[in-house]
């Protein structure tokens, strides 16, 4: 038998982390829970309201509309960014001096602060003076993202693809570089086509990193705030008001603390639930 030594001093080593997590996660979260079940008319006077705000949010058409917008946006950018990212990763050189050049170029958009991305694309897409906006109009399309819902969506999606496809590229590239050269040789000897190599060697070998890429892109895009806020401010009308923008409008614009807190919690649970579903679905085959 081995004698286990117990040393209660170890708790002191964990303490800093516990305090940090408490201050930046647990306490704010509990404050939100607290707000979500109360009503206030100012003067720091609160009344208990139970699940009233939750019911109100879940039945609110405004929330449904934001949620639908959010789901469509996330769905669209995932459908574009994942295949595009994989395609770019496949096209990148495998060795030689161009590898680092490509990797740096790919990483650049990821290094730009989110509000700067929003501001850049705002100016870039302005119909009168922006390079993109003027060009599209010059091609004969009537394009004005501050007034046309479709143009606003197009611009927001284009911006997100520009900003975040790199992440998928880098992850997919890492997955590809971990495949030993012998696999490709073996496939050549078998006489496998380029498609078979992709379908039966590269894709299965990339599965893990792609799962992570999809999960990260899902969570990030579902929480998107800064870029569309700077680009369109949620407009025209409410057409690009995604969940987080809507939330801020309720919390800070209208100062409805109770409904905003309830909505935060629902929002949080939706992300948690969808991430879990994604992960289980994608990892199911792995465990078999």
């Amino acid at each position: 038998m081995i004698d286990k030594t117990t040393n209660q001093k170890a708790w002191f080593l964990v303490l800093p982390v516990v305090v940090l997590v408490a201050f930046n996660a647990l306490i704010p979260l509990m404050t939100v829970v607290n707000y979500s079940v109360q009503e206030t008319f100012g003067n720091n006077v609160f009344f208990f309201e139970g699940v009233k705000w939750f019911e109100q949010i879940l039945h609110s058409e405004r929330f449904h509309a934001s949620l639908l917008r959010q789901l469509s946006f996330t769905g669209i950018i995932l459908l574009i960014e994942v295949p595009l990212g994989v395609a770019i990763a496949l096209a990148m050189p495998k060795k030689g001096p161009w590898v680092s050049v490509c990797l740096v170029l790919m990483a650049l958009p990821l290094l730009i602060p989110w509000n700067v991305v929003g501001a850049m694309w705002n100016i870039f897409a302005l119909p009168e003076i922006g390079l993109l906006g003027k060009m599209i109009n010059g091609l004969g399309f009537d394009y004005n993202f501050t007034q046309q819902p479709l143009a606003a969506w197009f611009t927001t999606i284009l911006m997100d693809v520009w900003h975040w496809t790199s992440l998928v590229v880098l992850l997919a590239y890492a997955g590809l570089s971990s495949i030993p050269d012998a696999y490709y040789q073996a496939a050549r000897i078998d006489g496998a086509s380029a498609w078979s190599v992709f379908r039966y060697i590269q894709l299965p070998k990339m599965k893990r990193v792609l799962t992570i890429a999809i999960l990260l892109r899902f969570m990030d895009s579902f929480m998107i705030y800064t870029e569309p806020f700077v680009l369109t401010g949620g407009g025209p009308g409410n057409t690009t008001t995604f969940l987080s923008i809507d939330l801020v409008k309720i919390a800070l614009g209208q100062f409805d603390l109770g409904p905003a807190a309830a909505m935060s919690l629902i929002y949080f649970l939706i992300i948690l639930l969808l991430s879990w579903i994604f992960y289980t679905l994608m990892m199911r085959n792995e465990e078999k």
Partner: protein, 353 residues
């Protein structure tokens, strides 16, 4: 005639991977490429497969020049050190994959897959995925895929290097039999001299992109053409010593001398080099031809019932392998017996004489 390289060289950038090489491998036999890492084994295999084009020279296969023919159009199979299988195919589909590419009828595919699965003893695993198999079973699957194609040329690039000791021995025993019955010409690359001896067949020794010798494995081992081939085909490394012939005697360091045997009587006097394997310098004399050499122990390694003694004699460091346990310490004086009748004699150009 199976596969023949005619004055083949391979240059990549400023590096010469293969110096001009001409070699004709024995058809339908087990051919071994023996050499250290970076000696050019893999490059030679890739050239034979058609995965790479030679910079100069021609490659002939079954009496036809196949130098520019892409790998898909040749009937070759290759197995690697890494266990290469399609990760999301079952073992059955993995083995069947090369047959599906050439669109054989389903019935025949089934028959052939089951036949090789039986040979490689993986029939119970046919429905599993490669990730659910042990390393040995994964490599068996890869070998089955090579065998099922019924290729005329099978290239094996250190296929046992990544396996555990037990599995390696087991598979090494089966390999020559498996391929002997298939009638294919097999080329097997390895870094281990012991493996070459166990596999038999024919061996080509490689050193820095050159084939130094090719012939039946036992004769390459027993009669190395030159010092390089002897070095490549010896583990632990072969010992060498500079000697001088004066009349009827060979002299080493003026401390030891022995009679010149009948075979070397006609040699002119002068400097020569001898090479001898560790088990030919021992603590006990073997016969009258063994001469005593005194040295100092550098390190002793004892493995089971054998002692490997590294010792320095003059400017030379030699390795000796003796039976029994002899726990010498560093610095101990030691007397060993060199079996001069088992030495290889090389001339000034390091050629075997």
């Amino acid at each position: 005639m199976a596969i023949e390289l005619k004055e083949v060289t391979k240059v990549v950038g400023i590096d010469t991977h293969i110096h001009e090489t001409s070699i004709k491998l024995e058809e339908g036999r087990f051919n071994i490429l023996l050499g250290t890492t970076l000696s050019g084994k893999t490059t030679l295999l890739r050239l034979m497969a058609g995965l790479e084009r030679p910079t100069k020279g021609e490659i002939w296969f079954k009496g036809a020049n196949v130098t520019g023919v892409p790998v898909q159009k040749r009937k070759v199979a290759m197995v690697y050190q890494q266990f290469i299988n399609y990760p999301n195919f079952t073992v059955y589909d993995n083995i069947a994959s090369p047959l599906k590419v050439i669109r054989l009828p389903k019935k025949e595919i089934e028959a052939r897959v089951h036949k090789v699965a039986e040979l490689l003893k993986i029939t119970p695993m046919l429905k599993r995925m490669p990730s659910e198999l042990s390393g040995g079973q994964q490599q068996r699957t890869a070998l089955a895929r090579a065998l099922v194609k019924e290729s005329d040329l099978v290239l094996l690039d250190e296929p046992l290097a990544d396996l555990d000791y037990k599995l390696r021995e087991e598979l090494r025993e089966e390999l020559p039999k498996l391929f002997h019955d298939s009638g294919a010409t097999v080329v097997y690359a390895t870094t281990e001299p012991a493996e070459a001896l166990l596999l038999g067949g024919y061996t080509a020794t490689l050193h820095e992109g050159r084939v130094t010798q090719y012939g039946p494995t036992p004769s390459v081992y027993r009669i190395p053409q030159d010092l390089l081939s002897a070095r490549v085909f010896s583990d632990p490394p072969i010992n060498t010593a500079s000697i001088t012939k004066r009349g009827e005697k060979f002299h080493y360091n003026e401390t030891a001398s022995w009679n010149v045997s009948e075979r070397y009587k006609a040699l002119p006097d002068g400097p020569y080099t001898i090479g001898f394997r560790p088990h030919h310098i021992t603590l006990e004399p073997d016969n009258d031809e063994s001469i005593s050499v005194k040295g100092t122990v550098v390190v002793t390694e004892i493995s089971g019932s054998e002692s490997v003694i590294h010792m320095s004699v003059g400017h030379d460091t030699w390795v000796s392998l003796s039976h029994g346990i002899h726990p010498f310490k560093r610095g101990d004086a030691v007397e060993l017996y060199l079996q001069t009748d088992h030495c290889f004699y090389f001339d000034a150009n390091e050629r075997f004489i």
